[in-house]
Amino acid sequence: MKNKFISPLVCGFGASVLTVVPGLKEIGCCLIIPFAAGLSLYLYQKSNKSTEKIFSKQAVVFGLLTGIFSAVFATLFEILFTAIFQTNDFVKSLPQVEIAFKSLSIVSQNLLDEVFKIYKGMAVDIQTRGFSLSYTIYFFIATSFTSLIFGLIGGLIGMAFINRKNKSNLN
């Protein structure tokens, strides 16, 4: 049996390239991470020359692994591009949020104002140093949330598809 981490690692890397790298992310879509998770299961079976039934547990593990690897690589790419350009989508969108935020209420809401200060601190760090630890954590949490869910769904769909294909080949 070959290492079960290799195919989720490769597919997760591929998915992160298509979701984060400028230029390539224009073709990014909600189908990429589920497709990568299904593909990782398929590649694992291919590399082991196996036609055994895939169980839900295995599909879930592969889906989650692909999702987490995708999130890790996406975060690494984001750190790299943020360091190069010293800006990103978050920094660009913040002024609009600030305008809307200030226009809504005259009464100060301490907690919300504090959170907004953290956002501004992140933007300042990115623009001056090209890196913000808070933004990196924020980005990783946001990305892994979606990647894990979509990876899980992709793993289960991949399981259904591969099992059916294997069964058809056996008959």
């Binding site: 946001a142 979606t146 979509f150």
Partner: protein, 152 residues
């Protein structure tokens, strides 16, 4: 797990997900939401390119995903509701391939400027794929429930 349980879990997820997509429209003047908006935007950015010219606006507020992705999610939501009443029995793989081919053609033609990007076409091709995708998945799950000739 019984396929109906998959469907219920999926239905809850897709309802929350679709509500999240339109949340900028629903909560456009809520201050708490403005704080959460950049985070939610990043959550949806993982699965959609969010190009401003391809995003649907409702009442002047942009939703979180592009027309094509909105179509796919809407299709999945509609199919999950329909699937509670009608259980798919036919093999829908050909329909799935057809709708996927339509979507790919639209992506190719609009990216290579054979015709200009249209939000309506993108929404419709996405909707068709969403409608057939869940049908296909449920059909696959039902297949394993009803056929026990696979050696465990």
């Amino acid at each position: 797990m019984h396929p109906k349980k998959y469907l219920i879990i999926f239905f809850i997820f897709i309802c929350l997900w679709c509500f999240g997509i339109i949340s900028p429209v629903v909560f456009h003047n809520v201050k708490v939401f403005l704080i959460a908006k950049p985070f939610l935007n990043q959550v949806y950015a993982t699965v959609c390119h969010q190009s401003p010219e391809k995003i649907i606006s409702i009442g002047g507020e942009n939703i979180f995903v592009c027309s094509r992705c909105a179509g796919i999610y809407l299709g999945l939501l509609l199919t999950s509701i329909i699937s509670f009443f009608i259980i798919p029995k036919n093999k829908n793989f050909n329909f799935l391939l057809l709708t996927f081919a339509l979507l790919l053609l639209d992506v190719t033609f609009s990216n290579f400027k054979i015709y200009n990007y249209s939000k309506v076409i993108a929404l419709l091709t996405g909707l068709l794929l969403g409608l057939t995708l869940l049908q296909f998945v449920l059909e696959q799950l039902n297949f394993f429930k009803t056929q026990s000739n696979y050696e465990e």
